[in-house]
């Protein structure tokens, strides 16, 4: 693999960049692999990468129905934060955030991790108490956050209206080391490194069946023929239920559409990420200058990657109220992704009823920020056959035990 650097770019410029090699190979699938990962999104590729880097397992294929990074990895609003309330969540998201910090150097691919800071504004007394609780929890979890005043909010984000008539800003939970990254680059960077380690990324290949013998997986059927494996890892987000059905079990997952939109690009006006949960909106500005806005999910099962328009309307209405300057910007593009929502809205990293088969899904609306941590924890689970400390709490068994990981608790109803 040719290393990327400013020097390399300058050198290649001499030949008009005709000397660059492929970022990843596009191989024919082999007959068998030690591990097959289904799904070449961020989570699947990261799982493969850490299998190689942490556990020396490089006989790996990542099989992708479409094009790598083409699902939710390339459709999200790129927010990275780890200011979660519950211990297991904080642990895995903080691991992810920490890995993100060095990911460009680790992958030799600039994923543009920008620790510009994430604030979650509190607009009711109830939210203030909720975020104060999170700040206390974070301090014990090793996640650096603080609860800040409205004045500090305004200082960090001058375009916000803190004295709005309906929902004045009463404070915010501030994670200075949260931020954003270039979503596509995360998938591409992992893919390039996986390919370099000798792993096969097999795109445009659909898994049509899962082969098993005596309750243990033996391989997969694909649109390009059968491929054997010793271990199988299913990392397909919104399509998890279909793969689970092939493997013979059911998941506590429902697939719904989540939408987002961007404005036309403008000059920099916002240096932080703001999330406003009372009015259901989040906002940041991309390096390109677009205002990136996250919307809500539909309540019904949907595989179309299109959502219902009223969510866009509600989100924009709320955000123009909180950020009045947005009113005269224009919506450039809206889109949707299919997100996998679990019964407690927390992910599943787990063994399954089928032997040597593992599942990583249920990231719902918040998976991008977790990619490195998720891959790291999943690789450990796949390599050892049992979860390490990061994945342990996210087992399927929790739904039977009643041991939920519920992050929506701050949004409980008051009075």
């Amino acid at each position: 693999m040719k290393r990327y650097s400013a020097f390399a770019v300058a050198r290649e410029a001499m030949t008009y960049h005709q000397g660059w090699e492929r970022a990843w190979r596009s191989p024919e699938p082999r007959d068998a692999y030690e591990v097959i990962v289904i799904g070449a999104g961020g989570h699947g590729l990261a799982t493969a990468y850490y299998l190689g880097r942490e556990h020396g397992i490089k006989n790996v294929a990542v099989i992708e129905k479409g094009w790598l990074g083409g699902g939710n990895t390339g459709r999200n609003t790129t927010i990275i934060r780890s200011n979660y309330l519950q211990d297991p969540s904080a642990a895995i998201y903080e691991k992810a955030r920490a890995l993100y910090e060095d990911l460009s150097q680790d992958l030799n691919y600039n994923i543009m991790f920008s620790p510009r800071g994430v604030m979650m504004v509190a607009q009711t007394h109830h939210e203030v108490r909720g975020y104060q609780r999170t700040a206390h929890a974070n301090a014990l979890q090793g996640v650096t956050t603080e609860f800040i005043t409205p004045e500090r909010v305004k200082e960090l984000c001058p375009i916000i209206e803190i004295n709005g008539p309906r929902y004045p800003v009463l404070g915010a939970l501030w994670q200075a080391r949260g931020g954003t990254a270039r979503h596509d680059a995360v998938a591409w960077g992992y893919a390039r490194k996986c390919s370099d380690m000798g792993m096969d990324i097999i795109q445009k290949t659909e898994v049509t069946g899962i082969r098993q013998k005596n309750g243990v997986v033996t391989g997969v059927e694909t649109s390009r023929g059968p491929i054997n494996c010793k271990k199988l890892c299913i990392v397909v987000a919104g399509h998890s239920s279909q793969l689970a059905e092939m493997a013979g079990f059911r998941l506590p997952i429902e697939s719904v559409a989540l939408q987002a939109l961007v404005s036309e690009p403008i000059k920099p006006c916002m240096d932080v990420v703001v999330m406003a949960n009372t009015v259901h909106g989040y906002l940041s500005q991309s390096d390109k200058g677009e205002m990136v806005i996250g919307g809500g999910t539909d309540g019904f099962n949907n595989y179309t990657q299109r959502g219902s328009f009223h969510h866009i309307e509600e989100t924009v209405r709320a955000l123009t109220e909180t950020f009045p300057m947005l009113a005269r910007l224009k919506m450039l593009r809206q889109w949707g992704g299919i997100v996998d929502m679990t019964g407690d809205r927390s992910p599943i990293l787990s063994t399954t009823p089928l032997g040597n088969t593992f599942v990583n899904c249920g990231w719902g609306t918040g998976g991008f920020k977790a990619i490195p941590g998720s891959g790291f924890a999943m690789a450990e689970l796949v390599a050892r056959g049992e979860p390490g400390p990061l994945a342990a709490a996210f087992s399927l068994g929790r739904f039977t035990e009643g041991r939920f990981i519920d992050e929506s608790v701050a949004a409980g109803v008051a009075h």
Partner: protein, 1004 residues
């Protein structure tokens, strides 16, 4: 130079001159101009700088596809960046500035990037700026951000008004060109309700510019007749300046009407109106967009789309150049050459990449004396901020210059692409039309609606029927299908007679010349705004970004504000070529709404400021407003947090309210509490399933506190249930819970126990409810007079109907404060009068209103839980020591099965206790209690947390409630709470009941 011709354009009113400013310069145009045509008329070809290399950018198109001519418009509350000059109608006093340059449009420091372009290919940033790590955030990224972006960020609050409009129609026709109008005639005559929306101010699309005859008359006359006929039809609505913005599932569509952008001082009209349309069927007659050709220097100001140049000439009487070279791979560009020549302008040569040009248009051009060179292309465009000439070369070769031709403009045409957005928004598929070298709607894979049938029909040029005769024939045929799909009847009819020049077939040309070397390919622009070149797409393909989505994202092709309207087809043709694949195998990127960018304010409509969300007000709300209430939003309700008096802080007010209520008399507006009537022979059985405790045994006239859990076991609401009669219960819920709990009841009644005879009604808003609380409560009621409120007649946890002070009321002897307390319900219409009566009569007893914070403190002093504080969706009643409210006799209730799951039955669960700091201070909200050591993830082990914490004015110390691991077994123990700064606060585990554990204050 570009200039205004003496011959007026067809859309211009030469009798109405207008003045406007561009970059401070005073310029003149006419009514009917667009900002773009007016700029060109003033020889302002240079209008902006590109995104990445800051290259000079001129106007390239005449419509929505324009990528370059984006300007800042207006000032203050009417400032707006990224306004497209080609779709901005000129008005008197318009003021615009160009974007993305410093210090000026003419001299832009950022243009250094164009010299560094070789070092900044597609995706260069993924390969650079990796080391050292902190530099990305602190050095590289700020620099990149600063040089990216286009217009300035608005600062002021929007000064304009926006609104929403609803329309329900049988057929929505998007596009008011000849195809759209023809379709409207068909559907209109069939009696369908038709809405035709057209994005420009003009009807007829580009047919009048392109010429030809329909039904024996010039297109313009036919358009006039069609409009006249349509305006006679009451069932047809025509709206210009209204763009189809997007199509969503089940026939939902958005129209974006620019009501007063062209007349911003036109009174109180809204600026934009968002049309929310439900249509049985949609017809997309959106025409087609011309493609550029990819030759070196095709981005220099002065290089324009051939049809756009014709538009400026015919519509606005503006000539973009005096000497224009035409370069094409199809016949349509000949129309431009002919129009230029007819206007007396020079066309030194038409370079036609095809190896022959023998159609009628070519012959006509030759006949006018225009030199036509076939098999010829452009090797390079010369010039800096303006075209000065072109080098011609053989299209088949590698670009050796045959000839240099001086010119100040270049008209290019690479063919046409149907506007397929509205076909594609809801999943319609496209097919590659090899003969036309275009993607057009695939009639076999249309977008489908709720019935599974096609939801959209494409017609005319939008359907790939480019020539006027084919277009009209297609429009007639598709209009019939659309009319039938919209529920109407339509017979097959013959298309109108159309006269138009026959055209020789297009020959696809994706790179000019075919064998151009890399140096030239590095100067062929695909995406003009984002500076994506042919070489960038080829680089992406070489590096393995083979999917069209990969290429788009890696190069940013098609991600500019025109969303690829100009560049996408050329880009994917280049990609296909690089991959050695067929164009249809490469496919397109996804078309997403909106068609062109629409204002965010229009999405909000009227819903901002006071109208942002409805406010729910109790009948007593106005009294609160008049008495200094500090309002707190609770759902959509406003509740008074406290009623501070002059000179008081909110905290002082809260303390006063608590003390006064405990010592004298307090009134609480409790109207927001949910009140749900549950009635019927099975009402008791039903409530036994909903509440954890037994409700069916409650006696009429009595009240009982109840808990409700979700089927998942968690506590979701609490409240007092009163049995009204044998078959009737009144269930109180929390303020936020009324609608939710009513919905919960109905859900179970309708979907699980639908054979049970029970009705429910949410009567929350039908009654005002006032809590009369404190030692003087009974005195006040007795003073007002009426029903017997003595402890004998109305004991604790009883209720009675009666009269007080002449009001018909229902009094509940229930207490959330631990004081003697009556919660009194009156009809909502009497609420304020009753409150006033209590206030007046209560003066001698020291009456004061108290707010929600005093309520919270008093309940905490008594150890009463609060849904949302002690509960958060993860807490079961057993955690809160509420086992007494869980019936052991019942076989079943919602949540019972869930509560025996292993984690819920675990004795290690955190349980409710009271907490007191050793020094009497107040514990911080949400603070956690720490245990020993760290868990496997390195996090400090926690053993509990504070759920409610207050300064108690009654006890004059901090009190708190919290959930602690095995808490009730650890009474008297001291546990440590961890401050965020690392400090520790010791606190003792005590009973959660801090005041009057025997209940002596309330049972009087």
């Amino acid at each position: 130079m570009s200039t205004r011709l003496t011959r007026a354009g067809r859309l211009i009113d030469p009798t109405r001159p207008l003045e406007f400013r561009f970059n401070g310069k005073r310029l003149r145009g006419f009514a009917g101009d667009t900002l773009a045509s007016a700029l060109l008329a003033n020889d302002q070809m240079l209008v902006g700088r590109s995104f990445k290399y800051h290259r000079p950018r001129g106007i390239v198109a005449s419509g929505a596809e324009e990528p370059n001519a984006l300007v800042n418009m207006g000032a203050e509350g009417r400032f707006e960046p990224n306004q497209r000059a080609t779709t901005t109608e000129l008005f008197d006093g318009l003021s615009a500035t160009s974007q993305n340059h410093w210090p000026s449009l003419e001299y832009d420091i950022g243009a250094i990037n164009t010299h560094l372009a070789r070092f900044l290919p597609a995706g260069f940033y993924y390969k650079m700026f990796i080391h050292p790590r902190p530099f990305w955030k602190h050095v590289y990224e700020p620099f990149i951000r600063q040089s990216a972006g286009l217009g300035r960020a608005p600062k002021a609050r929007d000064a304009d008004r926006y609104e929403h409009f609803y329309a329900h129609v049988d057929l929505l026709i998007i596009g008011g060109g000849v195809a759209g109008l023809q379709a409207a005639l068909t559907a209109g005559r069939a009696g369908r309700r038709v809405l035709v929306i057209e994005q420009t101010p003009h009807w007829g699309g580009r047919a009048p510019v392109d010429g030809g005859e329909i039904d024996g008359q010039p297109t313009e006359a036919w358009i006039g007749d069609a409009l006249a006929a349509l305006s006679e039809m009451a069932n047809v609505t025509l709206r210009n300046r209204t763009m189809g913005a997007g199509i969503y599932d089940h026939g939902y569509a958005l129209g974006y009407e620019r009501v007063s952008d062209h007349a911003p001082d036109g009174g109180d009209a809204p600026r934009h109106r968002l049309w929310r349309i439900r249509a049985r069927h949609i017809l997309s007659a959106t025409g087609a967009i011309e493609r550029p050709l990819s030759f070196a220097g095709n981005d220099l100001p002065g290089v324009m789309l051939a049809a756009a140049m014709r538009d400026y000439l015919v519509d606005y009487g503006v000539s973009p150049g005096d000497r224009t070279v035409v370069v094409t791979n199809n016949d349509d560009a000949y129309r431009t050459a002919i129009a230029l020549k007819e206007a007396g302008l020079e066309v030194p040569v038409i370079a036609d990449a095809r190896d022959h040009a023998t159609g009628p248009l070519a012959e006509r051009a030759r006949g006018m004396g225009i030199r036509v060179e076939t098999g010829m292309g452009i090797a390079a465009v010369k010039g800096g901020k303006r075209v000065t000439g072109v080098a011609l070369c053989a299209q088949a070769g590698e670009g050796a210059a045959r000839e240099y031709v001086a010119c100040d403009a270049v008209a290019m045409s690479g063919g046409w692409s149907p506007v397929v957005h509205f076909w594609s928004h809801c999943g319609g598929k496209l097919t590659w039309d090899r003969a036309g070298a275009m993607f057009r709607p695939d009639a076999d894979h249309p977008p489908t609606g709720q019935d599974g049938l096609p939801m959209v029909t494409a017609a005319g040029a939008a359907n790939g029927a480019m020539m006027l005769d084919a277009c009209m024939a297609d429009a007639v045929a598709q209009a019939r299908l659309a009319t039938i799909a919209a529920g109407g009847k339509a017979r097959k009819t013959a298309p109108p007679e159309v006269e138009c020049a026959a055209e020789q077939a297009i020959e696809p040309v994706w790179i000019m010349p075919q064998g151009a070397p890399i140096e030239a390919r590095s100067k062929m622009w695909l995406d003009f705004q984002n500076d994506v070149k042919v070489s960038d797409v080829q680089l992406a393909a070489r590096e393995g970004y083979e999917s069209v989505e990969h290429t788009k994202r890696y190069t940013t092709l098609g991600m500019a504000t025109d969303q690829g309207k100009l560049s996408n087809i050329n880009g994917l043709a280049v990609l296909s070529d690089a991959l050695n694949a067929e164009i249809p195998a490469t496919g397109t990127t996804t078309f997403r709404p909106p068609y062109t960018p629409i204002s965010l304010a229009s999405l909000g409509g009227e819903a901002h400021g006071e109208l942002f969300q409805p406010i729910r007000k109790t009948p007593i709300h106005d009294w609160g407003d008049a008495n200094g209430a500090d309002w707190e939003p609770v759902g959509l309700w406003r509740r008074a947090y406290a009623y501070p008096r002059d000179g008081e802080t909110v905290e002082q007010a809260v303390a006063r309210e608590v003390t006064n209520t405990r010592e004298n008399l307090g009134l609480l507006d409790a109207s927001t509490l949910g009140k749900i009537i549950v009635q019927g022979p099975d009402a008791g059985r039903f409530l036994d399933m909903l509440y954890t405790n037994m409700m069916s045994t409650l006696k009429p006239g009595r009240c009982r506190y109840g808990l409700m859990c979700s089927e998942n076991g968690f506590l979701i609401d609490d409240g007092v249930v009163a049995r009204i009669d044998d078959q009737t219960f009144l269930c109180h819920t929390t303020t936020g819970g009324a609608e939710r709990i009513h919905g919960h009841m109905e859900e179970w009644l309708q979907t699980e126990w639908w054979d049970w005879k029970v009705y429910t009604a949410n009567v929350t808003e039908q009654f005002a409810q006032i809590a009369v609380v404190g030692p003087n409560a009974r005195k006040l009621l007795e003073k007002l007079g009426g029903m017997d409120v003595s402890p004998e007649a109305l004991p604790f946890m009883a209720w009675a109907d009666g009269q007080i002070g002449g009001f018909d009321i229902r009094a509940y002897r229930i207490s959330f404060s631990g004081e003697l307390s009556y919660e009194i319900a009156v009809p909502a219409s009497q609420g304020r009068a009753f409150w006033d009566a209590l206030m007046t009569a209560g003066q001698e007893f020291g009456v004061m209103a108290y707010g929600t914070e005093a309520l919270h403190i008093m309940r905490a002093e008594k150890g009463f839980i609060m849904i949302g504080d002690e509960t958060d969706g993860t807490v079961i009643p057993q955690d809160l020591g509420l086992d007494w409210a869980i019936s052991r006799k019942k076989d079943d209730y919602l949540g019972k099965r869930a509560q025996v799951r292993s984690f819920m039955a675990n004795p290690e669960r955190w349980k409710l206790v009271g907490l007191e700091t050793l020094d009497g201070s107040v514990l911080p909200d949400g603070i956690y209690a720490v245990g020993q050591g760290r868990n496997a993830n390195g996090q400090a082990n926690v053993i509990g947390r504070v759920t409610s914490t207050y300064h108690s004015p009654t006890l004059n110390k901090g009190i708190a409630m919290g959930l602690i691991q095995r808490g009730p077994e650890r009474m008297g123990e001291v546990v440590e709470f961890a401050r965020t700064d690392g400090g520790r606060i010791p606190a003792r585990i005590v009973s959660p009941v801090f005041l009057d554990p025997e209940g002596e204050r309330q049972n009087v």
